[in-house]
Subunit: 338 residues, 2 copies
DNA sequence: TTAAATTCCGAAAACGTTCCCGAAAATATT
DNA sequence: AATATTTTCGGGAACGTTTTCGGAATTTAA
């Protein structure tokens, strides 16, 4: 049934040895142009397709990079993937993509799977659960290159690509300040992510710089629409002092907040200004359009992939590098002063 | 550097043959419990990881299913992927995911890549360009199972999983009729997709059934927000008779249409009712919320994967099967009578 | 013309598995 | 006690490549 034509078939058809065929196909130096062309022609004629397993078994390399992302949904990771694919393809590498579903155990399984597939490197963004740092270190110790992007673990000696979350948070909050808001809250993300503390830090910095005490203004929420909606609804239900602006951990949370506000007939931005973070395709689709921080998603993928390529081309182990990319604060209706 | 421990190392450490180790690891019948346990223990101790390339080379199977989707972005394909992954993992298969970027040549390359990787089957959704039908047939002829989902080619003898686009289009348009709309337009998708003609057919059916001539009411648009926005803007610019409802090919087109209408201060649904199709995460986020057809995305992935598993477990070639899934028309603000 | 260098190619080992076949060890049957 | 049967294991080929090494065949130098 599955009748694969091999290098032997080509050799037999031309009455030459498999070594010669192999040389021809890999365009080696010690082969006559003439025979090389014959081989290539015959290969095309027989519809030869190299067996990548035999190749990899021999070469001890797979030409494959393993990828682990938390989720396919949303626009962030898909866009990063496109950037990664762009660079990897240029260098004749391709990728096996797995998703951890924000699950620590699944992430471990994926890590194993990728290693069994003899990937030449692993690029990943960690789950919000975290906790697999020891495994990362073990893998790196064994000599397999790892690159982290966006969500990076602490205490792991590996290269990373990220944006300056603290700085961008500062810019966002400063923007709110500049429009006259003073009673600003932060709806915070998952505790154990580095980006969570970075963004919260930026928030605190600006408030303190403006003589405002951030104590009690940081509300734990989450990463999903429902998280933002829940947190805001709860705040409304409890009554008490209302913020005049909310700096949200990300866009879904911001959208959830806006939903809750709409349900209570509170006007955005007139009564409360909202900003998101890590802008996705929804920012310009919601009403009012959402002020958010646009991350260079494709570029992040490209840079991360380039780091991987650099490591793969290099003989020795390169020392870890952290690339910090510029992001853009896109100011839109949700935060403009009425 | 990359110091992989092999079956030979285990054999040497225990003073037995590699055959025995292999048998132990694959839990064969002709092995003593005792030795099997020893091997397993030693394997764990040495941190043995099977070389999947050697395994696949020998077995002539990879335990891998190749996937080709047009795009990562949007919520549709990611969700389908999750359904696929769920079933495949259950059966110890995993997947290599590639994206064609709606590009015919890229799709061909992916097809080649997957075959070089000796995938045991291919599951895919075709590009809007189409044109690779001959290749599909050739692959199927060669005995490699293929399953199509959502976007399926015509004239290819392979199993498919889809929804009844014609029926759901009818339901959507009937809903518009039932709210008193009569001058209904259809903003159509890419010509060569089967779903395009199906949805357009449903549109025509309902109009004719209600004594309305559909001629001239079908406007070619596309699949993106900008396509819908462009088509609607053009219609507005040209003046002429305005529709009182638009049945859009998909949600992005519908959102584009709503943007164009908003720019011209035309109220939805008061002046024009809008429906989308193939609901994504944006439907409930836009203002007004969008009436759309919810496809069972995960279920579609599950069913498609199950078809693949069935084919793989079967000795003989199963005859192609088409699974038609139920979808739901979610009626929301964008089409409710004022 | 012979020796030396160069160009090109084939034989064979290797990569890490699986599996067939036969043999040894253990057990059961006469 | 001798044979038959079962259980368990090792040898070695095979999967499709790449690569080392040596040896023809051809060209250049002496």
């Amino acid at each position: 049934m599955n009748n694969h034509v091999t290098i032997k078939d080509i050799a037999k058809a031309l009455g030459i040895s498999t070594s010669t065929v192999s040389r021809a196909l890999s365009d080696a130096w010690d082969i006559k142009r003439e025979t090389r062309d014959q081989v290539l022609a015959m290969a095309k004629q027989l519809n030869y397709r190299p067996n990548i397993n035999a190749k990899n078994l021999q070469n001890k390399r797979s030409g494959t990079i393993g990828i682990i992302i938390p989720e396919f949904v949303g626009s962030f990771f898909p866009n990063v993937l496109m950037g990664i694919q762009e660079i990897l393809n240029e260098h004749k590498y391709h990728m096996i993509i797995t998703q951890s579903s924000e699950n620590r155990r699944q992430e471990l399984e994926n890590l194993n799977l990728l290693q069994e597939h003899m990937v030449d490197g692993i690029m990943m963004s960690i789950t919000i659960e975290g906790g697999n740092e020891d495994t990362y270190n073990e893998i790196i110790e064994r000599g397999l290159p790892m690159i982290f992007f966006n969500r990076c673990p602490k205490n792991v000696r590996a290269s990373k690509v990220l944006i300056d979350d603290c700085l961008m948070a500062e810019k966002a909050v400063e923007h709110l300040i500049s429009t006259g808001r003073r009673n600003i809250y932060h709806f915070m993300g998952p505790e154990n992510l580095e980006v969570t503390s970075k963004r919260a830090q930026g928030f605190r910095n600006v408030l303190e710089r403006n003589g405002i005490n951030p104590a009690g203004k940081i509300i734990p929420s989450g990463i999903f629409i429902k998280d933002g909606q829940f947190a805001m609804s709860k705040m409304l239900a409890e009554g008490g002092e209302m913020p005049d602006a909310v700096f949200c951990f990300n866009d879904p949370v911001a959208i959830g907040v806006m939903k809750a506000l709409k349900n209570n007939d509170i006007k955005v931005p007139d009564q409360i200004a909202i900003t998101g973070f890590s802008e996705g395709s929804m920012a310009t689709v919601v009403e009012p359009q959402l002020t958010s921080v646009l991350q260079p998603m494709k570029e992040m993928g490209r840079q991360a992939a380039q780091l991987m390529i650099d490591q793969l081309k290099s003989e020795r182990k390169l020392s870890p590098k952290t690339i910090c990319l510029d992001a853009t604060l896109n100011i839109r209706e949700s935060s403009i002063t009425a």
